[in-house]
């Protein structure tokens, strides 16, 4: 295999390659942001609430952490396709559709891990917060705030899954060059075409980005832990 070719692509800052990298990051980070905004409150709510079937909901969210990306892609495809319920929005084969699919894909991870984190913290904080007379909403905010470092790791888990998956974005994005082509779909395509240097270059960049994001989050967490205990 021609590794030199891969390096040349990276070093030469090929604009097409960087467009792909940029789109991949934009989609996965947007999905993580959206899933966090929805998943944090939902997970925290699940940690507190008691209703019939709560156990089943928890088992289901835990199980959905392993949701196959192609299945999510298929469902979003059906919803957004011309004859689907949301077909009139014209979102299929756009980056927005890819963000929606990845958001759905990682939402269960965010909800399940948030629920566990908040439930543990609530067990610890319960008496103190009740003694301060906190309202349920106040408790939710205080717990999410104090769990922020653990929740950062939760976001990372979501990002890792979003950045690594290929099935969902391939199906709803269509791997259109210059528009919906991401690193993972490009790798799949170039590999099947036999352009191994390009696939390899993309793979290296993908791994480097994932490591860089994890490292910076870890540093941020270590810094915060040091300051806040």
């Amino acid at each position: 295999m021609d590794d030199a070719g891969a390096w040349r692509l990276i070093v030469s800052a090929d604009p097409a390659l960087y467009a792909i990298v940029y789109l991949s990051l934009k989609i996965s980070l947007s999905a993580v942001l959206a899933a966090g905004l929805i998943g944090f409150p939902l997970g925290a709510l699940l940690a507190f609430s008691s209703f019939p079937g709560r156990g089943a909901v928890i088992v289901l969210t835990n199980a959905l952490m392993g949701l196959p990306p192609v299945v999510v892609g298929l469902c979003v495809f059906l919803a957004l396709s011309r004859s689907g319920p949301l077909g009139s929005l014209g979102l299929l084969f756009t980056p927005t559709a890819m963000i929606i699919a990845q958001t759905i894909l990682i939402m269960p991870i965010i909800i399940a891990l948030t629920r566990q984190t908040i439930e543990d913290l609530w067990g610890e904080y319960r008496n103190e917060l009740l003694a301060m007379g906190l309202s349920p909403l106040g408790r939710l905010i205080a717990l999410l705030y104090d769990a922020r470092i653990s929740l950062l790791t939760t976001l990372l888990a979501g990002f890792g899954r979003a950045a690594a998956e290929v099935g969902a974005v391939m199906i709803v994005g269509g791997n259109i060059e210059g528009f919906t082509r991401t690193m993972t779909t490009a790798i799949a395509l170039e590999t099947s075409k036999g352009d191994l240097p390009l696939a390899m270059g993309l793979g290296l960049i993908l791994i480097a980005i994932v490591i860089a994001i994890n490292a910076s989050t870890w540093l941020l967490g270590a810094f915060a832990r040091n300051r806040m205990g």
Partner: protein
């Protein structure tokens, strides 16, 4: 707000049963304004349970409590320091500021109130340290500052100096005495007779969930009526009641 008071705190036939065990059995007492009241007794007497009930954190399974005539349990002007206080994952400043804002202190007064509280518990120098990294004695003082932030007229303390060395104990006792002197009614759990003698005006003596004696401190120590209390003061291990 000023009209609301927690005193007198009435306990009438208060019973607490859980898991087939009776932790508190038919306790009646009246906690009124004045010098600190100590709940004294050996381990397993139900002292902490009584304090949690007095805070309104749990409801008795029998009997009732009222705070200044109210039976509603929301902790207005009432605060507690647990035996093992939990520090929020914030700095000392963050912990106390959180308690202040939960107590309804307007944001423009926060900094002033924070500084005076930190001075009161002697934590000014540690204000920006993460609270969970502090020593046990320092954490107790953070918890006291959080409790005092509520400007309580009833302050409940669960073993405020357990596990503390003499210097830390002294610091905490001074804060307690200061709060009592400024008009806060203190109800504290202790199993340390010497500490109770130093701080308390009257004593509730609890053994195995039952109130065995209720007397002013001087009387309790000079002419303890029950043989149980006498043997407790002698340092005997109370294993039967």
């Amino acid at each position: 707000m000023a009209a609301i008071t927690n005193l007198p705190l009435l306990l009438r036939n208060v019973t607490y049963r859980t898991g087939g065990q009776t932790l508190l059995d038919d306790i009646s007492a009246t906690i009124s304004n004045g010098a600190p009241t100590a709940i004294l007794g050996p381990n397993g007497a139900g002292k902490s349970t009584l304090l949690h009930l007095a805070m309104g954190l749990m409801a008795p399974t029998g009997g009732w409590l009222s705070w200044g005539g109210r039976t509603e349990t929301s902790p207005i002007r009432r605060a507690i320091v647990f035996q093992k206080p939990v520090m929020l994952r914030r700095t000392v400043r963050g912990n106390v500021t959180f308690a202040l804002s939960q107590a309804g202190v307007p944001s423009k007064e926060l900094e002033n109130r924070l500084q005076s509280l930190l001075q009161r518990v002697d934590l000014v120098a540690l204000a920006d340290r993460p609270a969970r990294r502090l020593s046990g004695g320092e954490q107790k003082r953070v918890a006291l500052a959080r409790a005092l932030a509520r400007e309580p007229d009833l302050l409940l303390l669960d073993e405020p100096t357990a596990d503390l060395d003499p210097a830390a104990t002294r610091a905490v006792e001074q804060i307690i005495a200061g709060a009592a002197a400024s008009g806060t009614k203190i109800l504290m759990v202790s199993h340390d007779a010497a500490q109770v003698r130093r701080l308390a005006g009257d004593i509730l003596f609890l053994v195995k969930g039952r109130l065995r004696e209720s007397a002013p401190t001087t009387k309790f120590f000079s002419e303890t009526a029950t043989p149980l209390a006498q043997s407790f003061l002698r340092g005997d291990l109370l294993t039967e009641a």
